[in-house]
Amino acid sequence: MQATLSALAEPNRRQIVELLRRKPRAVGEIVDRLGLRQPQVSKHLRVLSDAGLVEARPVAQQRIYSLRAQPLKELDDWLKPYRRTWETRLDQLDEVLRDLKRQDKGKKDVHDK
């Protein structure tokens, strides 16, 4: 968990994860998209790989990187109670807003008559 969070604490690495979320990509493609130098990208990929967030497989002369679901799933599980607290709070706020809208409409209707 901490390895996942540390790896994702760096903005460029989060961008790499975002890129790989859409599809697996070769290192060259990541370099082009991020506008970073190849050694930097390789370093970030190594950190992500050590944290188990990405894996590489060789295809022809290239290494294709893809995301591994497990650490992201763990991250999601870790966030779940916190998210649930906000979900409950904002669902209830939504209910209050519905009531306020109904009251506003009621007032307006009376006013219109």
């Binding site: 969070l5 994702l8 604490a9 903005p11 870790w78 966030l79 109670p81 916190y82 998210r83 649930r84 607290t85 906000w86 979900e87 409950t88 709070r89 904002l90 669902d91 209830q92 706020l93 939504d94 209910e95 209050v96 807003l97 519905r98 306020l100 809208k101 506003d104």
Partner: protein
Amino acid sequence: MTSSATTKVSLPSDTEILITREFDAPRDLVFKAMTDPNLIPRWWGPRNQTTTVDKMDVRPGGRWRFVMGAPDGTTSGFRGEYREVVAPERIVQTFEWEPMAGHISVETATLTERDGRTLLTVRSKFSSKEERDGMVASGMEAGLRETHDRFSELLAELRAGK
């Protein structure tokens, strides 16, 4: 009633948490619901607890304090200070859970309206990654308490030999 709207939680940096949610209401109304002390008890706390507004002085430098009461009678205080109040678009306030006094985060709530709908974003900024992670891990206390309640219920059921 279940809502189809989704609450998104993300970690935009290592010291922040970002929450977003869209409401089918104009932002004046959302702002009112967020700043009216009479409405806070209806939405701020978990469903199985009561929320009492002890203090809520919505203006820069004003203090707020809410007390949550659990079914078992225990209470828990949350407090902070309003730093910025710009109706109906922004509220910046500090957030502190009293049993963990001194661990203060800063919450910036931003309301943007489009076609009569309002997007609420709440950005919580912590003084360090450890503080942020601690907050998430606690489930913001309330979530933890709900989990704890369920755990206690389960234990009671087991004891009763169900």
